[in-house]
């Protein structure tokens, strides 16, 4: 049984072979949340930007929606198993003579540290920014990769 743990996230504890149950629980939360008119997806750490973290055998993938940035305005650094993302989202002024009907888009600074479940190859991280989505590909360190063992 593989057990992963993320310490940083209060709403996110053990992951285990009970994944299916966890998925059902989340789905139920979502359904009841909709009925009660609550936020659709309440499980997040409350720090901008919201991220999705996935993995395959050799890599971690972090994706985040930060529309309206330039790639050079996002800075990232990695140490040990932590990756920090920071930057500032700017919304250009439209001049004095405009009258606003809606103003929902927000600007401001952000900074977030994401702790990954295992060690990473800090030197080989690749990041791209396309259509307002930041995608980061992080190789796992050799020690963290699963090894195939042949049975003789």
């Amino acid at each position: 049984m593989i057990i992963k743990r993320m310490f940083d996230f209060p709403n996110y504890g053990w992951r285990s072979a009970f994944d299916d149950q966890e998925r059902i629980r989340r789905e139920m939360d979502r359904l009841f949340g909709q009925v009660a008119g609550q936020a659709y997806w309440p499980t997040h750490a409350g720090v901008f930007p919201l991220v999705n973290v996935t993995e395959d055998q050799d890599h971690f993938y972090i994706r985040s929606e930060i529309p309206g940035m330039k790639s050079e305005e996002i800075s990232m650094s990695a140490t040990g198993r932590n990756l920090s993302i920071s930057g500032e989202r700017k919304i250009a002024s439209e001049g004095e003579n405009v009258r606003y009907h809606r103003r929902e888009r927000e600007d401001g600074k952000f900074s977030r540290v994401i702790a990954l479940p295992s060690d990473i190859e800090v030197g080989k991280i690749e990041a791209g920014y396309v259509d307002g989505i930041l995608s980061i590909k992080i190789p796992k360190s050799e020690a963290a990769k699963p090894k195939q063992i042949t049975v003789k």
């Binding site: 997806w41 973290v53 395959d56 993938y61 405009v98 009258r99 009907h101 888009r105 920014y129």
Partner: protein, 134 residues
């Protein structure tokens, strides 16, 4: 002193279903800025993940409808570790009070932000009416 505020994390807002959806998956309301000048109405919408061919802007009578399709970036062999946001379609509808010059609508999509310029139709020229004495 100008202090920049910190961005707050906010979950996406799902569109309340007014009619039954045929396509599966959630649908979200994009955040927009709408402002007008004397000549045009400008709309900016945050629609991260939408590529230009997947975006539909429809202006019919005075109803403007935005629909954006998002294709998932995850490959099927990836396992989720932490999922904080969902992706899905974007949908939002507005009723415009002004008459828009439909032929001159301009839309640009850059880095997940749509900028839509809707020029107002020039008002009919005021006409002088001369009354002839019969």
């Amino acid at each position: 002193m100008t202090e920049t505020k910190e961005l707050q994390a906010k979950g996406k807002v799902e569109v309340p279903a007014s009619a039954e959806q045929i396509k599966p998956g959630p649908m979200f309301t994009p955040n927009v800025d709408i402002f007008e000048t004397d000549k045009e109405i400008i709309m900016l919408a945050d629609i991260p993940g939408v590529k230009a061919p997947d975006l539909t802007i429809d202006l019919r009578d005075d109803t403007l409808t935005l629909t954006g399709e998002v294709k998932p970036l995850n490959r099927p062999e990836e396992d989720d570790i932490l999922i904080e946001y969902q992706f899905g379609r974007y949908y939002r509808q507005f009723t415009l009070a002004e008459v828009i010059d439909q032929g001159k609508i301009d839309a640009a999509l850059n880095d997940g932000v749509l900028r839509l310029a809707l020029p107002k139709l020039e008002k009919a020229m005021p006409r002088q009416i001369t009354i002839k004495a019969g």
